[in-house]
């Protein structure tokens, strides 16, 4: 009985929670991008665009610190970037969630593999890779 309950929890409930988590992540982050977009267009809609040559400094919001600072001043571009950041973290949260379900299933080989994937992604968070 106990084993059955565990199996049910791992296979069914987690899948449902996972589906909700993914949906909420996408809807929430895209709503934030949309709101940020409106603010950005209201402020800068009549300016000229120039994306002809890639300039790393152009976006202005390429670090988490600068995004959060921009959020405080209600900057449209920063709000968009925050939404993008949230979107990026949604699949990462899914990996974390899968590790959790492997722990429940006592599948330690996959706990290890999951942690490896998670640490690879977290490694990319250090901006040493590009600077």
């Amino acid at each position: 009985m106990k084993k059955e309950a565990k199996h049910f929890f791992a296979d069914k409930d987690i899948q449902i929670v996972l589906g909700v988590l993914l949906r909420v992540g996408v809807i929430l982050s895209m709503s934030i991008v949309f709101i940020g977009g409106l603010i950005y267009l209201l402020g800068a809609g009549d300016q000229a665009v120039d994306y002809a040559v890639f300039d790393p400094a152009h976006s202005g919001y390429s670090t988490m610190v600068s995004i959060f600072k921009g959020l405080l001043s209600f900057n449209g571009k920063a709000i968009i970037q925050f939404g993008v950041l949230l979107l990026i973290f949604t699949p990462v949260a899914r990996v974390a969630f899968s590790i959790f379900s492997f722990v429940i299933e006592r599948d330690y080989l996959y706990v290890l593999i999951g942690l490896l994937v998670l640490s690879i992604i977290l490694f990319s968070l250090s901006n040493k890779l590009v600077h």
């Binding site: 449902i16 589906g19 991008v33 940020g36 977009g37 968009i80 970037q81």
Partner: protein
């Protein structure tokens, strides 16, 4: 061009890219990048950054629907993600050191491959084949629901699939696309995983792989909010509507028409890359 006009054009283009990408199974990224670079003159590095955001949005959005059906093999996905995340980050790091002209040519070649993969006949290989030692060790074999009940399947050539996934990850990181065509080659053709399982599992992996390289792009300033906003909103909206239409229509003819369009785009990208117009 003003910001407003640019946003409206990109939004419409991204919507179409998402719609067609989901109807044909090609993905939105491979269409939006040529549109941004060839039509709007956007630098390819910006186009790549915006595209990767749309890849995360669409793959995560459809994963939410797949996850309930229990077809996705989380173990296969997680196992292969070790390869795709490492290589996607590598691809994203090296992309700026590569001449944009070469990137355009590589992009064109991948586009040609995708067009071919889209129209080729799919051969089902659901007959049980004896699993290898690696697929037993990593517990990759599984079952999936069919009309006749749970259908067991085994996974072949794990090492070969893993290596192919490494290539798929590099391309994904290099070009900012989901590289679904390469993932299908790895899972369908090399590992002999049933379509249903490979489609949903590759979708599961796409979001995670794209997230890994997206962080690198973000730090480098390749994700510009002014482009990422209309691209991600448009592609997601188009893909969502596309997946609803897909359930009711036969897309075989559309795929052939679209393969011609994609081939044209691919040749255009290659030509522009070789002649230095990009």
């Amino acid at each position: 061009m003003t910001v407003l006009l640019f946003t409206v054009i990109v939004l419409l283009g991204a919507f179409l890219a998402g719609l067609l990408g989901s109807l044909t199974g090609l993905g939105g990224g491979v269409i939006i990048i040529p549109l941004l670079t060839l039509v709007l003159g956007v630098d390819i590095h910006y186009a790549i950054g915006a595209s990767i955001v749309s890849v995360i949005a669409t793959s995560t959005g459809s994963a939410a629907a797949y996850v309930k059906e229990g077809i996705t093999n989380i173990r296969i996905g997680m196992f292969l993600e070790v390869a795709t995340t490492i290589s996607a980050i590598t691809g994203a790091v090296i992309t700026v050191f590569i001449n944009p002209q070469y990137i355009a040519v590589i992009f064109g070649l991948i586009l040609l491959l995708s067009a071919f993969m889209m129209v080729r006949k799919k051969i089902a290989h659901e007959q049980p084949v004896s699993p290898g030692r690696l697929s037993n060790f990593f517990k990759l074999n599984g079952t999936y629901p069919t009309d006749r009940g749970m259908q067991p399947y085994t996974v072949h050539n794990v090492a070969g699939g893993f290596a192919m996934m490494f290539v798929a990850g590099i391309i994904s990181g290099l070009l900012g696309i989901g590289s679904g065509a390469l993932k299908v080659i790895a899972m369908d053709n090399i590992m002999k995983i049933p379509f249903k399982v490979s489609t949903t599992t590759s979708n599961f992996m796409m979001g995670v792989t794209a997230a890994a390289s997206a962080v690198v792009y973000l730090h480098r300033g390749q994700i510009d909010p002014g482009i990422a906003m209309p691209v991600s909103l448009g592609v997601l909206l188009g893909a969502t509507i596309g997946s609803k239409i897909l359930l009711k229509t036969n897309t075989d003819k559309l795929k052939i028409v679209f393969a011609v369009v994609v081939t044209f785009l691919a040749l255009q990208m290659i030509y522009n890359g070789l002649s230095g117009n990009i």
